[in-house]
């Protein structure tokens, strides 16, 4: 797309005044400078026209993070009563090329809020997550869509599929928590018991995967259960001669909580495991485990 001179011949472009010695000036492409010079001229008059819309597209090509241009574009789209479904297609192409740009996702949200129609959103987000299942922007937007349009019903199935594909995907574990605990329908005790079994299975598959360990500790705390229920799992992993710093770290938490209730045997056991983690199995966190040991000794 190029800017045609005859469309703009009634406009006097306004150059950027950067002063005598600007801080960190950018070596702009001539086309970007030209487009911005027209933007400065027409935005002062708040012109809302077809050519203004095209101009925003040109600027976005160079600078998709230009939040003011997006804001201007939204005002033009609404003033000209543009077909916002077409704009959804436009922003989809933009996001495909720039999946980690805040302004693009926000623009999509503005459009969907205006349309009050989220029917295209989950399929669209699925496509983006298919390329990068940990894209933070996509997840933020997905949570907004689910909350705003009450689309909770199929989300756990979706998360299950993602975890089947990659059990180390922490974003999917986080979404699991969101789906269960941010849902207006609260989970039953029976559901939570099954959920703990599900996570234990996943931990057994990959005992060195931190994500389900964090998750299970989280749901145990959330459902007011005792972390002691994980002792069996940790011991089982140990007995199979699998070295898992996460299982050992979990035992430290368990023993520390019992030591706080006065158990000397657990205190000694906890100190022993801290030493093993510090010296052998989690040496990058040597000083951390020594710190935990000092806490245990002081109890």
């Amino acid at each position: 797309m190029t800017l045609e001179a005859e469309v703009w011949n009634d406009i006097t472009p306004i150059p950027q005044d950067d002063g005598p010695d600007p801080l960190a000036p950018i070596a702009y492409d001539t086309e970007y400078t030209k487009a911005m010079d027209y933007f400065r001229a027409i935005s002062q008059k708040d012109e809302r026209s077809e050519r203004a819309l095209e101009l925003t597209e040109k600027i976005i090509e160079y600078n998709p993070a230009h939040y003011t241009i997006w804001h201007y574009r939204q005002q033009i789209l609404f003033s000209l009563n543009k077909n916002l479904y077409e704009e959804l297609e436009f922003v989809k192409d933009q996001i495909d090329n720039n999946p980690k740009n805040y302004q693009l996702w926000h623009h999509r949200q503005v459009l969907v809020e205006k349309l009050k129609d989220a029917s295209r959103e989950l399929p669209f987000i699925n496509e983006i997550l298919n390329d990068d299942a940990k894209n933070y922007h996509a997840w933020t937007y997905r949570q907004w869509v689910i909350r705003t349009f009450n689309l909770w019903d199929d989300e756990l199935d979706f998360v299950n599929k993602l975890l089947d594909k990659d059990v180390r995907n922490n974003s999917a574990w986080n979404q699991r928590y969101f789906t269960i605990f941010f849902n207006p329908t609260k989970p039953t005790d029976e559901f939570l018991a099954q959920e703990i079994d599900y996570v234990i299975e996943k931990i057994k598959m990959t005992p060195n995967n931190i994500s389900p360990w964090n998750y299970i500790k989280g749901i145990i705390a959330k459902s007011n259960k005792d972390i002691n229920i994980l002792e069996g799992l940790c011991k089982e992993i140990e007995e199979q001669n699998i070295i898992s710093p996460h299982a050992l770290g979990c035992l430290v938490d368990i023993y520390e909580s019992r030591a706080r209730n006065g158990s000397t045997a657990d205190k000694e056991e906890g100190i022993k495991i801290c030493a093993i983690l510090a010296e052998k199995h989690d040496t990058i966190r040597k000083k951390y485990w020594e710190y935990r040991k000092v806490i245990l000794v002081s109890l």
Binding site: Q16, A24, Y102, N174
Partner: protein, 352 residues
Amino acid sequence: MTEFVRDKHISCLKRNLTLLPRQYASNDTNRMTLGFFCLSGLDLLGALESEISEERRNAWIDWIYAQQILPDENNPEVNEKICGFRGSPFSGLSFDPNGTRESRLPFDAANLAMTYTALTSLLILGDDLSRVNRSSIINSLKYLQRDDGSFTQTYQGMEADMRFLYCAVVISYILNDFSGINIEKAIEYIKNSQSYDFGIGQGPGEESHGGSTYCAISSLYMLNKLDEGLLSKEKTLFWLISRQESGFQGRANKPTDTCYSFWIGASLKILDKFELIDYEQNYNFLMQTQTKFGGFAKSIDNNYPDVMHTYFGIAGLSLMNVSGLLELDPVINISKKAKENLLNNCVFHKQN
């Protein structure tokens, strides 16, 4: 490469301050922050005064003030919401080192992140903030806080999250006036954004992330609410310390990245637990993301440096007191020298 190439970083940052390559056009509206990365990097390298003439430093101070939007008596209703600093002069007003009062441009507005990096850049350059219009900036914050306690970056209504909550808090801290923030709501937002693993996300329900965890911890520190705001300091410590793999990752099961040596490192520093990390592995990782012509890249397998990762690489090393670097204030994210300028010379602190 195991040597820290200090001189190469100095020339790289000087080059960028003079002219950024064309691909930075995609950050045109964030130029103030790009400038901050270069200035603060040079400052941490102890090279700002020796490498940049006083005349040039003063010209940059003027350039920063030229981006300030001041109160406009002719149009107070609109103007109240847009005071502060722009990221660059893109909106089309003439250069004025005293700032501009014209508020009839419908698409001209300050931005919280740009106001934050304008103020820190001024402090780094040795300015006393005497040309900053404090009351108008503090007043504009009221229009940017949402009901849930979070902040948006401009009144034009972009996304609201933990990043801009931090910007609002640090601006108030620098200007020594918290009256523009509903502190109770801000604390509530931080509490609600703590995840089941006690890291902190950009908002409630979102995945724990090194950047948002830093923003939350640093904000709580400035508000003097660390004990109240962190649901479990020990568990947040475990989340932070678990991010070290050699350098640091920003989220569980994600690759290491130069910038998290700062985000996670500074969070630990604020919690007074930085000494628990493995210095040697962090140092070696950063020596591998350092590029031989100066600057830092995001990761080991990407050898193209950018100003953001260059700054955070230097800042990450400064947290470890690597020789040849000034000490960093982890809360405001400027050198301790620039922080002293704030406390001893700045007009908003001196008088108190």
